[in-house]
């Protein structure tokens, strides 16, 4: 049986922990709102980019001179797996579920006899994958020092990916990130980005009222310039979804932690009071039986 002093100390320490988790939950809630705003602000660009690309590529698919970024290299031997996670932990199963999905896919690809290269974004993903696939990681990014992820970071990653692609280092690139559905649910997702998987042209196309687009310069040239840009946009979108997901997951994880700490404090208090009373009763019995003996 723990002494009363031990119990008091434990209650104090759990209370302190609860204060920390509650503060972290509130910080995560504030950051989540910012992240959601950023994700919403980025949406118009991505939507318009999708629409333009859908319009353009509808005419290019199946043509022999279609750019490699759209049509692929014709091989699928070497796969680049881009795993985007958060830099920080303490957000429930957020990082590990992305890493698990990536690991499953990597193992499947290796099982099929393909070569796999890995690019990690975020420290946690790197930590999770380096034990099993350390020799396959070609590059890793971390944004620990950056307050808010901007387009520049996405562009940076896209540039590396493009350089690798142009150097013939891989044939297919897949991006793993967590799709933000709402605060309590983030779905780890795999999205193929090279060759580009495009939205259906049918829903995105604009009615031109019978007129035909005039292209300046050539259609194929525009497409060639747009596809790399689209890559940055896709990566940017994934990063923003990830940030929102991270804070959402952190918020609910910290909410749980706060509640658990509360339960624990309640239980400890009951134990504390019981043993205090037991002690008083024991002392009373001692006094009474001492008096009776006289």
């Amino acid at each position: 049986m723990a002494s009363l002093k031990d119990l008091r100390n434990r209650i104090a320490s759990v209370k302190a922990t609860q204060k920390i988790t509650r503060a972290m939950q509130m910080v995560a809630a504030a950051k989540l709102r910012r992240a959601q705003e950023a994700a919403e602000a980025a949406r118009p660009y991505a939507e318009r980019m999708d629409r333009v690309l859908a319009n353009l590529s509808a005419g290019m698919i199946g043509r022999s001179d279609a750019p490699a970024l759209l049509a692929g290299t014709g091989n699928d031997q070497v796969h680049l797996v881009i795993v985007a996670t958060a830099d920080r932990g303490l957000c429930g199963g957020f990082n590990s579920s992305i890493a698990r999905l990536a690991r499953q896919n990597i193992n499947r690809l290796i099982g099929e006899g393909k070569t796999v290269k890995i690019l990690t974004v975020g420290r946690k993903g790197h930590d999770a994958l380096k034990r099993d696939f350390g020799d396959k990681i070609v590059k890793s990014y971390e944004f620990t020092g950056i307050r808010q992820i901007g387009f520049a970071q996405a562009e940076d990653i896209a540039k590396t990916v493009l350089e690798l692609f142009e150097g013939g280092e891989f044939d297919v690139a897949t991006l793993f990130y967590s799709k933000f559905v709402n605060v309590v649910s983030q779905i780890p997702t795999a999205q193929q980005i090279i060759p580009a998987s495009l939205p259906d042209a049918g829903e995105g196309s604009v009615d031109l009222g019978g007129a035909v687009y005039e292209y300046e310069p050539e259609e194929s040239e525009i497409l060639e310039e747009l596809l790399p840009r689209n890559l940055s946009v896709q990566i940017f979108r994934a990063l923003l979804e990830n940030v929102a997901g991270e804070f959402g997951a952190k918020m609910s994880a910290m909410d749980n932690a706060t509640r658990n700490a509360g339960d624990m404090i309640k239980q400890l208090n009951v134990t504390y009071n019981r043993s205090r009373q037991a002690m008083i009763t024991k002392e009373l019995i001692e006094i009474i039986s001492g008096a009776e003996a006289l």
Partner: protein
């Protein structure tokens, strides 16, 4: 001016402008274009340059863009630009930095086509510096 043009200027991070205007001047890769309401559908890439926006009852506004993409549909004009700065906020130092970057691109370019594209970009920027 009879017909208004609905003009959207979007960067990846946010929607910068979305309003009805009269005339937008866009620095297309193959020459500047003035676009008004009822323009024929066009898709064009942009070179680094200045977008001018004119709306009735408002002073003309200028934005510097570092390349991008313009699309004209019957619904209006959409400019997708990665990097946009209102011209008033663009100072000589920032422009110098851009020029330096472009210069490095020229030096780094591996193929002739790329070197040419980078060189063109550099020239445009230098012109812009003179205009400022």
């Amino acid at each position: 001016m009879a017909e208004k043009l609905s003009f959207d200027l979007v960067s990846p991070e946010r929607l910068l402008i979305s309003e009805q205007v009269d005339l937008v001047t866009v620095p297309g890769t193959e020459g500047d274009m003035g676009i008004m309401g009822g323009h024929a559908p066009v898709m064009s890439t942009l070179r680094p340059g200045v977008i001018g926006v004119e709306a009735e009852g408002q002073p003309e506004r200028h934005y510097f863009v570092r390349g991008g993409f313009a699309e004209v549909t019957p619904a209006g004009l959409t400019v997708l630009a990665e990097h946009t700065v209102p011209l008033d906020e663009l100072d000589a130092a920032a422009l110098e930095l851009e020029i330096e970057n472009a210069g490095q691109d020229v030096a780094d370019a591996k193929t002739d086509a790329k070197r040419q594209a980078a060189q063109e970009k550099l020239d445009h920027l230098k012109q812009l510096r003179q205009a400022l």
